[in-house]
């Protein structure tokens, strides 16, 4: 029982989970199917929720439980269902057509992870408080998630997959928040989650509209709007 109370042990568990989250992110960057992508996102979000729960348990940050539950509800259940429905409704080809090919995408993601670690390095405090120790690895992963998410928004042609990339990017922010400060104030957390939900709804409509108008979801065609 003692092991399950020890913050040191919790730190290790969290780091392990963070590594898994990162692996999922890179997998997503290299994945070619939209539905699989959505499921990977759901799995990633599930892991994040679990991380929030773990941190809450080991550090007695009760309000993080609520954040974990909300993440579970919104990002693991609601958003994937909405997105999968959208995929069915607009009846698109199920493949993502990345601009950069898959091997190179994975390579770039690896490079971005490195950048994430370099940046996180500078935040490391001199030996001291617990959160900093917990923070370092998780923060590096969070920054990497953010950067890879950003890279994915650039790398994908279709508006729907860009939405997905944006959600991954948001996951990175969430991870940074829970690992560094044991979560943002609950009201901010609620706002962010609500934002994500609204963003998915709005972008869903937008994606639909873009397809109606241009007979395609390929945002590269928006280029025609140029004067």
């Amino acid at each position: 029982m003692h092991t399950f109370q020890d913050p040191q042990f919790g730190d290790k568990v969290v780091t392990l989970m963070a590594a898994l989250v990162l692996v999922l992110q890179i997998a997503m960057a290299g994945q070619g199917w939209i539905v699989t992508n959505i499921r990977i996102f759901a799995a990633q979000s599930l892991l994040l929720a679990a991380m929030a729960g773990t941190i809450a348990w080991f550090n007695h940050a009760t309000h993080l439980y609520i954040a974990a539950a909300l993440t579970l509800l919104v990002k693991v259940i609601l958003v994937p269902i909405l997105l999968e429905r959208l995929v069915e409704r607009i009846d698109i080809r199920r493949e993502i057509e990345p601009i950069v090919n898959v091997p190179l995408s994975v390579l770039i993601s690896g490079g971005l992870t490195l950048v994430g670690y370099i940046i996180a390095e500078s935040f490391q405090r001199p030996q001291g408080a617990g959160p900093a120790a917990l923070g370092h690895n998780a923060l590096a992963v969070a920054i990497s998630l953010f950067l890879i998410g950003f890279f994915m928004t650039i790398n994908r042609r279709k508006a729907l997959t860009q939405v997905l990339a944006l959600l991954c990017l948001e996951n990175g922010l969430f991870l940074a928040a829970i690992s560094l400060t044991y979560g943002m104030p609950l009201i901010v957390e609620l706002g962010v989650l609500f934002d994500v939900l609204v963003a998915v709804l709005v972008l869903g409509i937008l994606v639909y509209r873009i397809r109606e108008t241009f007979e395609s979801m390929d945002v590269s065609r928006l280029r025609r709007l140029r004067g």
Partner: protein, 681 residues
Amino acid sequence: MNLPVAVALFRLGLVVYLAGAAAALLAWRRPRAARLAAFGAPVLGGLVQLAASAAALSRASAAVWTLPWGTALFPWTVRLDPLSSYFNLALAFLTVAVSLYSLDYLRDMEENWNLGALGFFYNLLLLSLTLVFTAANAFFFLIAWEVMALAAFCLVAFEHQKEEARSAGVLFLIMSHAGTGMLLAAFLMLATAAGNLNFASFHRLASRLSPVEQGVVFLLFFLGFGVKAGVVPLHIWLPDAHPVAPSNISALMSGIVIKTGIYGMARVFFDFYGAPPLWAGTLVLAAGVVTALVGVLYALMEHDLKRLLAYHSIENIGIILIGFGAALLFRALGHANLAALALVAGLYHTLNHAMFKGLLFLGAGSVLHSTGTRNMEQMGGLIRRMPATALFFLIGAVAISGLPPLNGFVSEWLTYQALLAGFGTTESLTRLVFPIAGSLLALTAALAAACFVKAFAIPFLALPRSDAARSAEEAPLAMQAAMGILAAACIALGLGASWFVKVFDPITEQALGIRISASLQAGRGFALSAGAPHSGTVSTAGIALFLVSLGAAAAYLVSRFARSQRRSTGPVWDCGLPGLTAENEYTATAFSKPLRMIFSVLYRPRREIQAEYEVSPYYPKAIRFESEIEPTFEKHVYGPLKDWILGVAKRMRAIQAGSVHAYLAYIFVTLILLLLFEVRG
């Protein structure tokens, strides 16, 4: 809570402006209600602010108040220190008069204009102006500054159906934003040195920077505020923007909105700087002289009454800057007393200009209201149809021409005194600046007087030149009252000058650490002295008394000795060309011709005459005359600049791929580079 009276009143005034804006929006579909609410409220609000600034000026220390919203890092704090309160005083006084005027002026516009929108932007402008003058930190200041610019833009482009209003509005917006950009850079440089954004911590701060930084900050501030003030060559938006706005708005724009630039300069020059470098003072003085001269020269060539007044605003900004520039020079040379004198001259002229330019624009508005034209060549004889407007316009014209005993004379006289005293302050070559500036200021004043002979005589005297002028009607009562208030202020600020200078004591004490009103008073307070050795003394009250008694004596002599007071009317000598009409009267173009020839280097005039005749050229049937001058600054300064910007923009188009991915990639790469830079650097 023990709130100072000044702050309580100030707060109330802001609430009244806000209420006016809200009422204007609520009464969107009821023009009458919108007019009464949106322009009645600022009459009250102006009175309250007047009391607030008077209370603040009489206090020993600056009153500070933080608005309840805003964040910890960027508090919305206002500070009613003497300088702020002084400008707020000018604003409040003008607000009362202009709002009163608007109540009647806009009565006929209820059909055509959306008075809800006009009233909303009007109140918003007043609110933001008040906050610009009183904001106590750079962040809040810039917010108020931008709101002011946007509100002013909406008012300038209010008659957006007209092409000229739209293009004037856009030009104003572009110039204004360029200026704000420079201000932002300058404030950031100061904030970096101070560690925060409070004006209080900027006090004397700029002088502790390195000489290069000092110069850059000074130039950025001077250019940034110079755009709003209309300093040549940054003035080109002003003669376009001020006339196209409704006349009540023009009065506010020329009267006080351009003074925000002057306020900013005063704040920077005399609060943020301890003793600015010598070249800075010379630069401001030179800019002032050029601005004054160019302003009046272009004003002389204008036949559009409101454009003429707008050019005179540029001229007066120049005169104010001459005062400020001299003050900066004296400070750099270590003559605190003279610096205070020059500063007082500049600030006094700021208030005076707000009064008489407001008055003149309101007068021009009355003329426009009743004749429907801004072109002076179509007016004439209005003094019979609109005697009250003519009288008030004349008072304004006398004041702006710097004739004794009105207020324009006092402040220009103080400026001269400062410049005359300047020659003896140093042995270096710098001292030559003073007599040169003085003589050019004299030239400006003479040209301004000539210009106002035209601006008064052509519209108001002789016979009407058009049907519109023949059927002109006197302005309604509220408009007359508003002009009367401002005319009274012009007279009071002239006659009571030696008492009014006390107002400047707290300002000069804050800026330079000395009070000089006692040394400015002479002859038991009835005369004004420049306070420097060998300086002049003048009593405006005495001059007024002399003029009145002279007039009374003349009137008595006429009534006593003139046998017949019958007026006889006869034909005019027509040089043998019968059938001359009122349209053949002396025109504004003819009046300004000698000056057009003398200054043809600047104007590069072009004229075209076509005469039709049957028998001999001496008996023409019709003559068509066209004359125009070259817009020098637009053509030779802004033309090349525009071409250059367009050229650069064309080359920049390459990166505007129109692809979302490319834009995302730009952001991404920038982000990564900045992050790595921050980590490594």
